[in-house]
C-alpha cells in the first residue's frame, strides 16, 4: 500500500523483449510488436505455471470430485475419464493450453459448472466495484492534492488523514461504514449489487486508501510544478490559484501518478477480493475466496490468469502509449534503468 514500493512494480513486463532484441533504436512498429510479443510470452509462462501448480497441488483431484460418495475403482475410473485425467501429462498440457486459448478454463470441481461462464458472469459486479473505487480514489486524490499542496497546515492535516487511510485495513473500514451508514443510519443497502446505492460503501472502503496513496504522489508533483518557472508566468497573467492548479499544474503532476497504474490495478483487484466478502457483493473476489477455501483450483487459476492478463495488457498498453507519446523514450538506453 505504500507509494514508496511502487518503483518495484512500475517496470512493465513487456519491456524486456525489445531490450534483448537490441531494439533500442529500432523502428517504432518493431518496438511495439516486440513489446506485445513479450507480454504474450509472460502470459504463456503464467499459464504454464498454473498448469504445473495444478499438477503439483497436494490432495487428489479425484477424491475431491468423489466427495462423500462410495469409492470404488470403477467410480474413480469414470471420473478420471470424464475429467480427462487419464491422458499422459504432455497431452493434458497441450489440451489445457488449447482450451485456454479458446477461452475455456475447464469445469469447477465444486460448483460443477463451466469456469469461463462463471468468471464472466461475475466480472460485471467486480468491474463496477473497481471502476467506482477508482473514481473515489481519483476524486479524493485530486481534491486532497489540489486543495492542500503547498499549504502548510492543510497539507499536514491531509497528510495525517492519508496516512490513517493507508494504514486502515479496507475490510475494517468496510465493517465500520456498514455499521454506521447501513445498520444504524439506514442510508445504504447492507449487501448485494442490486442498485447504485449498494455500490457507494464498498467503493469508499476500497477506494479511499488507494486515493490516499495517489494523493500523496499527486501532491508532491503538484508542489514541484508550482515551483516551476511556468507557474510564475501563469500567475503573472492574473490567473486564480485554483485555475493554475487545476489547468496548468495538475497535468504535470499527473505524469508520475500515471506510473502508478499497474500498482493501482493490482491493488483494486486484490482489494476487491476482501471488499466483496465484507459487503456480501457478488463478484470475482468472492468467487475466488470461496474457491480458495473449497480447494477449487480451476476457478482460482482462471481468476489468476485473468488478472495476470489484465495486468500485462494494461502495462503493455501503457508502455506502447509512452512510446507513441514520448519520442525520447525510443532512443533512451533502458539498460541501466531496469
Amino acid at each position: 500500500m505504500d507509494p514508496q514500493n511502487t518503483t518495484a512494480i512500475r517496470r512493465s513486463p513487456a519491456a524486456w523483449l525489445p531490450e534483448r532484441l537490441g531494439l533500442k533504436r529500432g523502428g517504432l512498429a518493431l518496438q511495439i510488436a516486440a513489446r506485445i510479443g513479450s507480454g504474450l510470452l509472460v502470459l504463456w509462462a503464467a499459464v504454464t505455471l498454473s498448469f504445473v501448480s495444478l499438477q503439483l497441488a497436494p490432495g487428489d483431484i479425484v477424491s475431491l470430485l468423489i466427495g462423500e460418495q462410495l469409492r470404488t475403482p470403477e467410480v474413480e475410473a469414470t471420473i478420471r475419464a470424464e475429467w480427462g485425467l487419464d491422458a499422459p501429462l504432455p497431452l493434458q498440457y497441450l489440451s489445457y493450453l488449447s482450451r485456454i486459448l479458446h477461452g475455456d478454463f475447464g469445469r469447477s470441481y465444486i460448483l460443477q459448472t463451466d469456469v469461463t461462464g462463471l468468471v464472466l458472469s461475475q466480472m460485471l459486479p467486480t468491474l463496477k466495484l473497481t471502476a467506482a473505487a477508482l473514481v473515489v480514489a481519483l476524486v479524493f486524490a485530486v481534491a486532497s492534492a489540489v486543495s492542500t499542496a503547498g499549504r502548510r497546515v492543510p497539507r499536514a492535516i491531509a497528510g495525517a488523514l492519508e496516512l490513517t487511510l493507508v494504514s486502515t485495513p479496507s475490510f475494517w473500514l468496510g465493517i465500520l461504514l456498514l455499521f454506521v451508514f447501513s445498520f444504524t443510519l439506514k442510508l445504504f443497502p447492507v449487501s448485494g449489487d442490486r442498485s447504485f446505492s449498494a455500490l457507494v460503501l464498498p467503493a469508499l472502503a476500497l477506494g479511499l486508501s488507494l486515493g490516499a496513496v495517489v494523493g500523496q504522489v499527486l501532491r508532491e508533483g503538484l508542489e514541484r510544478a508550482l515551483e516551476e518557472p511556468f507557474a510564475l508566468t501563469v500567475r503573472s497573467w492574473g490567473t486564480s490559484d485554483l485555475v493554475l492548479r487545476l489547468r496548468h499544474c495538475l497535468r504535470h503532476a499527473a505524469l508520475p501518478a500515471v506510473t502508478l497504474t499497474g500498482w493501482l490495478v493490482g491493488n483494486l483487484l486484490s482489494g476487491a477480493v476482501i471488499t466483496e466478502s465484507v459487503f456480501g457483493r457478488p463478484g470475482l473476489g468472492r468467487v475466488t475466496v470461496e474457491a480458495v477455501l473449497g480447494h477449487d483450483l480451476p476457478v482460482v487459476l482462471a481468476v489468476a490468469i485473468l488478472s495476470a492478463f489484465v495486468y500485462v495488457a494494461l502495462s503493455t498498453l501503457v508502455d506502447v502509449l509512452y512510446l507513441l507519446l514520448d519520442p525520447r523514450l525510443r532512443d533512451e538506453s533502458r539498460e541501466t534503468g531496469r
Binding site: D2, N5, E220
Partner: protein
C-alpha cells in the same frame, strides 16, 4: 525508467519536504512509544495483561468496557484487551516473517541476477515478471489454495508475494554498482571476485533492503490481517486481529467493542511503522543525496 539512484535522490528531496510537517517530532515520539508497546505485547504479552486471552467464561459474555475488562469481553466471555495484546504476536510475527522471507529470497535472487547477467539474469527476471503479473494478495490467495489455510502457510504465501519487489531493487543496485568505475578500480587492484562481492558490492546493493522491509512490513501486516479475516490465517481460538474482526462482525449491533479494538490496533501499528519507516528512509536518502 531512469536509473534508481537518481530517482531515490529526487524522492529523497521530495520526501524530506513532504514529511516535514507531518512527521514533526511528536508524531515520531508517539509512534515509537506505541511500537514499544507493540513490541512488549509481542514478546511478553503477560506484562500488559494478566488475563488469559483464551479463557472463556459463558457468564461474562459481551460485557462492555469497564475497569475490570478495559476493552470489554467478547461473545465467549474472553477479555478483549488481553486478546488484542496477545494478538500482537500473531500480526507482528506473520508480518515480520513474511517480509523476512521476501527480503532474503528477493535479495538473493536480485544479487544473483545482477551479478551473473546472461541466461541466469534472464531466467530470474522473467520469473519475477511472471510472479509480479499477479497482484500481491491474489498471488498469496493462489498459493493458499494449494497449501490450505494456517499460520505457516500464510507466512509462506505472503513471503513469496513479496519476493519480486525486493529482487527488483537489489538487482538494479547490484547492476549499477558492479558496473561503476569504483568496482572496476577495485578489480585493477587485484581483489578476488569473492572479496569484491562481499566487501564492495553486497553492502551497497543491500543498503536499501532494511528500509524497504520496514515500509513493506506495514502492508504485510494489513495483507496478513485481510487474509486471516477471510479465514486463511491462524485458526481459532488464536487471537489474531483480522480473525477477531471476522468473528466480531455479527456482534457489532449488540457489542461494538468486540469489533473496534482489533481494528484500532492494526491501524495504529501500521501508522507507527510507516512514520518510522519514512523517517528512516528520508534520513537515509538525505544522506545519499548529499
Amino acid at each position: 525508467m531512469s536509473a534508481v539512484p537518481t530517482t531515490l535522490a529526487r524522492r529523497g528531496v521530495r520526501f524530506r519536504r513532504a514529511l516535514h510537517g507531518l512527521l514533526a517530532r511528536p508524531g515520531l515520539w508517539l509512534a515509537s512509544l506505541f511500537l514499544l508497546f507493540v513490541a512488549v505485547a509481542t514478546l511478553w504479552p503477560g506484562l500488559l495483561s494478566s488475563a488469559d486471552p483464551l479463557a472463556a467464561d459463558p457468564l461474562q459474555a459481551q460485557l462492555p468496557p469497564s475497569a475490570e475488562h478495559w476493552f470489554g469481553t467478547d461473545h465467549l466471555g474472553r477479555d478483549v484487551f488481553s486478546r488484542v495484546a496477545h494478538g500482537a504476536r500473531y500480526s507482528i510475527l506473520i508480518g515480520v516473517s513474511a517480509v523476512a522471507i521476501g527480503s532474503i529470497v528477493g535479495s538473493a535472487l536480485g544479487l544473483l541476477a545482477g551479478l551473473s547477467r546472461g541466461l541466469v539474469d534472464e531466467a530470474i527476471s522473467r520469473f519475477l515478471d511472471v510472479v509480479s503479473s499477479f497482484p500481491d494478495l491474489l498471488l498469496a490467495l493462489v498459493l493458499i489454495s494449494f497449501t490450505g489455510p494456517g499460520t505457516l502457510n500464510l507466512i509462506f504465501a505472503l513471503g513469496v508475494a513479496f519476493v519480486p519487489r525486493f529482487a527488483r531493487v537489489v538487482r538494479a543496485q547490484t547492476f549499477v554498482i558492479a558496473r561503476s568505475g569504483y568496482v572496476e578500480q577495485a578489480r585493477t587492484f587485484g581483489l578476488t571476485p569473492t572479496v569484491l562481492v562481499l566487501r564492495h558490492i553486497l553492502p551497497h546493493a543491500l543498503a536499501q533492503v532494511p528500509i524497504l522491509a520496514t515500509i513493506g512490513l506495514g502492508s504485510a501486516i494489513i495483507s496478513a490481517a485481510g487474509l486471516s479475516f477471510l479465514g486463511m490465517g491462524p485458526q481459532p481460538p488464536a487471537p489474531e486481529w483480522g480473525a477477531m474482526l471476522a468473528e466480531a462482525r455479527n456482534y457489532l449491533r449488540v457489542a461494538w467493542w468486540i469489533g473496534v479494538w482489533p481494528g484500532v490496533a492494526i491501524t495504529l501499528t501500521v501508522i507507527s511503522i510507516s512514520i518510522l519507516g519514512r523517517r528512516w528512509q528520508a534520513s537515509f536518502e538525505g544522506r545519499r543525496a548529499r
